[in-house]
Amino acid sequence: MDIVFSAATVNYAGRTALQPLDLRLTEQRIGVVGLNGSGKTTMARLINGLVKPTTGTVTVGGLDTVADEVAARGKTGFIFQNPQHQMILPILSEDIAFGLKNRGFGKVEIAEKTEAVLARFGISHLARRRVHELSGGETQLGAIASVLVTGPELLILDEPTNQLDLKNRTLIARTIAGLPEQVLVITHDLALIEGFDRVLVFHDGRLTADSAPAEAIRTYREIAAC
């Protein structure tokens, strides 16, 4: 799916969070790195319309994220830094089903899809667990399942391995690598994006590098060393 930024900028209360950005993303695996406050999360939130561009436009699959907000948002799934915050119902399977119910699916279809997505991520045994009792890795998988069950073409993950132990980090990295959906990952975990198709580096609200992982990571290391 094409993601196109056309002279998109974002200002918050007089501060420029994102300098004019012209970019076309078509790759299956896209990494985004940068120091804290560099504009990478703002850029990602522009894609599903959580943040509106102050000037310019952003389109997802040809849909404008402002003019066609609901339809554009339907094409993208977003996993937040703390996925606990996006799980709205107390039981995992109910949370997954809730997303489908809001999209008008019938009871039988909801049950089938919920069961299928739990099985897809190997978490069927967690179906009736309370979400606030899930471990970090289980929460990430549950959040991914609850977002992908509605069938977005693009999945955006904001620091998905943040605060995970090595075992869960490996599990999430493997899960991301195996997703057939287009994926955009914001991360400080450089190993996670080593095999990606394209990596963007943001610094001070500006896109400063856009290349294959090895070169982009080198640029990021140079920025971080300053």
Partner: protein, 201 residues
């Protein structure tokens, strides 16, 4: 009383439609406040306890879930004893405890999503008058139920942080960061609701 703690089972209460349960609870609340006759209220309390235990919840779990509210009821009853009479205290205790146990029985036999669906259905007629958005109200109820344990856990973290620093755990110094952090979380949660497309207007 709802906190996502419905228990799976096949008791008569599990099989009863959620609307029926809510109507019975509503009627019981009215009837219990129409009388102070202990010959009616005490058997009602026993019946409510029997209904609650018939859900298969087990005595220990039943007590764990209701003890805090029942303790509060006990305080209210004690106040009535001090300011009114023993009879009034017993009536208040029986009446409120009966309601607590009936509500807990509804909780134990009703899934939160089923409950939210029913709220949506019940409030939908009011949408025509522009009073409410039924789906928003049920979502709000779901959010409260979902995030109450999170808020308790956060309070515990803040209290632990105080103890770790050798500070006394005082209401002002714990509630202030709790409120600030909860409001900050609320922003993220609102954004997540939008991201997942739960509010489509």
């Amino acid at each position: 009383m709802l906190n996502g703690l419905d228990i799976e089972g096949t008791s008569p209460l599990h099989r009863m439609p959620v609307r029926g349960k809510l109507i019975v609870l509503f009627v019981a609340a009215i009837v219990l406040f129409l009388t102070s006759d202990l010959r009616f209220l005490v058997p009602a309390l026993v019946l409510a306890a029997t209904i609650y235990l018939s859900t298969g919840i087990g005595l220990r779990e039943a007590a764990r879930r209701t003890r805090f509210v029942l303790f509060t009821v006990l305080l209210v009853a004690a106040a009535n004893y001090v300011f009114h009479s023993l009879h009034e205290a017993l009536a208040v205790f029986s009446r409120l405890s009966t309601l607590v146990l009936l509500a807990a029985a509804v909780t134990a036999t009703t899934g939160i999503s089923t409950f939210m669906d029913e709220i949506t259905r019940l409030l939908t007629p009011l949408e025509r008058f522009g009073f409410v958005r039924a789906a928003d109200v049920s979502l709000a109820v779901g959010l409260v139920i979902r995030f109450v344990p999170e808020i308790f856990a956060r309070y515990q973290d803040i209290a632990d942080a105080h103890r770790a620093r050798g500070l006394p755990v005082r209401p002002l110094s714990t509630l202030t960061p709790l409120i600030i952090l909860t409001l900050k979380d609320a922003d993220t949660i609102a954004m997540a609701i939008d991201a997942r497309g739960f509010r489509r207007h």
